[in-house]
C-alpha cells in the first residue's frame, strides 16, 4: 500500500509539473478567464445582479470545461504511447492503477487551479454588491467535483487513443454522452435487474446536476454518485492500459 501511494505521488508530481513545463497551462488559463468573464458579462447584468451572475457562472462551468478537460487530458496517455515511454512504465514494478490515479489527480489539480483563478469574479462580486459566501464556496466545491468526473471520464477516453486529435475528439464525445445521459433512467434500468419497481429520483442528466447544485439542492446522493462515477472511470482507464499490455 505504501509503495502504491508513493508511486501515485511520483506520477502526480511528474504529470502536474509537465503542464507547467510544456507551457500548456499558460495558454489555457488566460483563455479560460477571458471566456468566463465574457460569458458572465454577456449573459447577465453582472454588477447589478451579482448573485445571479455567480449563478450563471456556475451553470456555465461544466459546459466551459467540456472544451478544457479534453484539451488537458488528451496528452496524458497519448504522450506515453508517442514517446514510447509506456514500455518503460510497464516494465517497472508498479501498479498501473497508481499511474492512472496519479495522472488523473494531476489533471484534476490543474483544473482546480483554473477554477481557483476565477475566484477573481467572486472577489469582485463580494466587494461591490456582496454575496452569500457560503453558497459560493459550496458551489465551487461541487463544481470541482463535477469537473473531477469529467477529468476521470476524459482521461479514460484518452487512454484508448494513439494520437492527440483522436484523444481530444473521443474525450469530447464521451463527455457529451455524459451530459446527454438520463441517469435516473439508466439507474432504473440497471437496478430493475435486481429490484422490482426501483425508481431512482436523483438527477435526470448532467446539466440538471449543475442546476440543482446552484439552486441549493445539494444532495448527498450526488457526492456518492460522483465518487462512484470517478472510481468507475478510473477502473476503465486501468483496463484500457492493461488491454494494451495484453493486446493480441
Amino acid at each position: 500500500m505504501r509503495d502504491f501511494v508513493n508511486n501515485m505521488i511520483v506520477f502526480f508530481l511528474k504529470e502536474f509539473k509537465s503542464f507547467f513545463q510544456n507551457k500548456m497551462i499558460y495558454v489555457l488559463l488566460p483563455i479560460y478567464l477571458v471566456i468566463n468573464f465574457t460569458t458572465v458579462i454577456y449573459f447577465s447584468d453582472f454588477l447589478s445582479v451579482a448573485s445571479s451572475s455567480m449563478q450563471q457562472f456556475f451553470l456555465l462551468q461544466p459546459r466551459i470545461f467540456l472544451i478544457f478537460v479534453p484539451a488537458l487530458t488528451m496528452r496524458i496517455w497519448v504522450e506515453e504511447y508517442k514517446n514510447n515511454t509506456w514500455e518503460i512504465l510497464l516494465s517497472q514494478p508498479i501498479s498501473i492503477a497508481a499511474a492512472v490515479i496519479g495522472k488523473f489527480l494531476a489533471v484534476w489539480a490543474v483544473t482546480g487551479i483554473m477554477l481557483l483563478s476565477s475566484t477573481v469574479l467572486w472577489g469582485i462580486t463580494a466587494w461591490f454588491v456582496g454575496c452569500d459566501n457560503v453558497w459560493v464556496l459550496t458551489n465551487y466545491l461541487m463544481t470541482f467535483l463535477i469537473i473531477g468526473i469529467m477529468c476521470a471520464v476524459s482521461a479514460w477516453a484518452g487512454a484508448l487513443c494513439f494520437n492527440y486529435v483522436g484523444a481530444f475528439l473521443l474525450s469530447w464525445a464521451f463527455l457529451a454522452i455524459l451530459f446527454a445521459v438520463n441517469f435516473d433512467n439508466l439507474i432504473n434500468k440497471i437496478m430493475a435487474v435486481f429490484v422490482d419497481n426501483f425508481n431512482a429520483r436523483v438527477f435526470s442528466d448532467f446539466a440538471e446536476i449543475a442546476a440543482s447544485l446552484v439552486s441549493g439542492e445539494i444532495k448527498t446522493a450526488f457526492i456518492f454518485y460522483a465518487i462512484a462515477l470517478i472510481a468507475a472511470a478510473l477502473w476503465a482507464n486501468v483496463v484500457a492500459v492493461e488491454y494494451k499490455r495484453s493486446e493480441k
Binding site: 511528474k14 509537465s18 514517446n83 514510447n84 514500455e87 499490455r245
Partner: protein
C-alpha cells in the same frame, strides 16, 4: 536464472512468437539475433513485462512475470530500442523519476552510474535536446540505477560513436560479472565483442541456442553474418 517455457504471443491475429523455450544462465551476456520481423522486440517486451504472453511462462529467480509481476520486475530492467525518455524532463529529473518508481536509489550508485555513462555534462539538459548517443546512455543509466539482476537491452549501441561503443561494451562486460544481460542486435561486431551465448530467432521460433564459441566453429571463417544468409525476413 531466467526460464522461458512454451511462450507464445500474437499481435493483430499474427503469431509473432511460437512456443519459445530457452534459459539464460546467470553472469553471462546472451545475444538475441534475428532479421527484422523475426520477433526479437516482441520477445523482449514479453520478458520485460510490457506484453502479457498469450501462453507459456517466464520465470526469473523463481518469480513469474504472470503470478509475481512486481517481484519479477524488481529484478529486471529493460531499455527499449527507442529509449523511452520523457522529453520535457531533464536527465536528472528523468533518472530521479525512474529511481523513485523503484523505491529510490542510493546516492552513491546514482553518482557512479552518471559518471560511468559520462552524463555529468548533460545532467541538467532536457532529454529532448540530447543527441542520440546521450539519449541511449540516459536510458541505460535509468535501467542501471536499480542494479537489476537481468538487464534487457534492445539495440544498445545503435547511434553511439566508436569511442562510446567501446566504453559501453566495457561497462556491460563488467556488469555481467555479477548479473545477466540479454541484448538484441544487428551488429555482428557487437556479438563477437560481447556475447558468450547466442540465441537465433526466425519467424517467431528459436532455431539456434548455443554458446558463441560453438557457433563460431560451425560458421565459415567465424563470420556471424552468414547466420542470416538462409533466413527469411524484411532484411532480405
Amino acid at each position: 536464472m531466467l526460464m522461458v517455457k512454451n511462450l507464445s504471443k500474437s499481435l493483430e491475429n499474427n503469431k509473432i512468437l511460437d512456443n519459445i523455450n530457452f534459459e539464460l544462465k546467470d553472469k553471462q551476456i546472451t545475444a538475441l539475433l534475428g532479421v527484422n520481423g523475426a520477433g526479437k522486440t516482441t520477445l523482449m517486451r514479453c520478458l520485460a513485462g510490457v506484453y502479457e504472453p498469450d501462453a507459456g511462462s517466464v520465470v526469473f529467480d523463481n518469480f513469474s512475470v504472470k503470478d509475481n509481476r512486481k517481484k519479477y520486475l524488481q529484478n529486471i530492467a529493460y531499455v527499449p530500442e527507442l529509449g523511452g525518455l520523457y522529453l520535457d524532463m531533464t536527465v536528472f529529473e528523468y533518472l530521479t523519476f525512474i529511481a523513485a518508481l523503484n523505491g529510490g536509489c542510493d546516492k552513491k550508485i546514482f553518482a557512479q552510474t552518471v559518471k560511468a555513462l559520462e552524463l555529468e555534462s548533460v545532467i541538467d539538459k532536457k532529454c529532448a535536446a540530447l543527441s542520440k548517443g546521450y539519449k541511449k546512455r540516459t536510458a541505460l543509466a535509468a535501467a542501471l540505477l536499480k542494479q537489476p539482476k537481468l538487464l534487457i537491452l534492445d539495440e544498445p549501441t545503435e547511434g553511439l560513436d566508436p569511442k562510446q561503443k567501446i566504453a559501453l561494451r566495457k561497462l556491460l562486460k563488467k556488469y555481467a560479472e555479477n548479473n545477466t544481460i540479454l541484448i538484441s542486435t544487428h551488429i555482428m561486431e557487437e556479438v563477437s565483442a560481447l556475447a558468450s551465448h547466442i540465441i537465433l530467432i526466425n519467424k517467431g521460433q528459436i532455431i539456434c541456442d548455443a554458446p558463441e564459441s560453438e557457433i563460431r566453429k560451425v560458421v565459415p571463417d567465424g563470420n556471424f553474418e552468414l547466420l542470416f544468409s538462409n533466413l527469411d525476413g524484411d532484411m532480405q
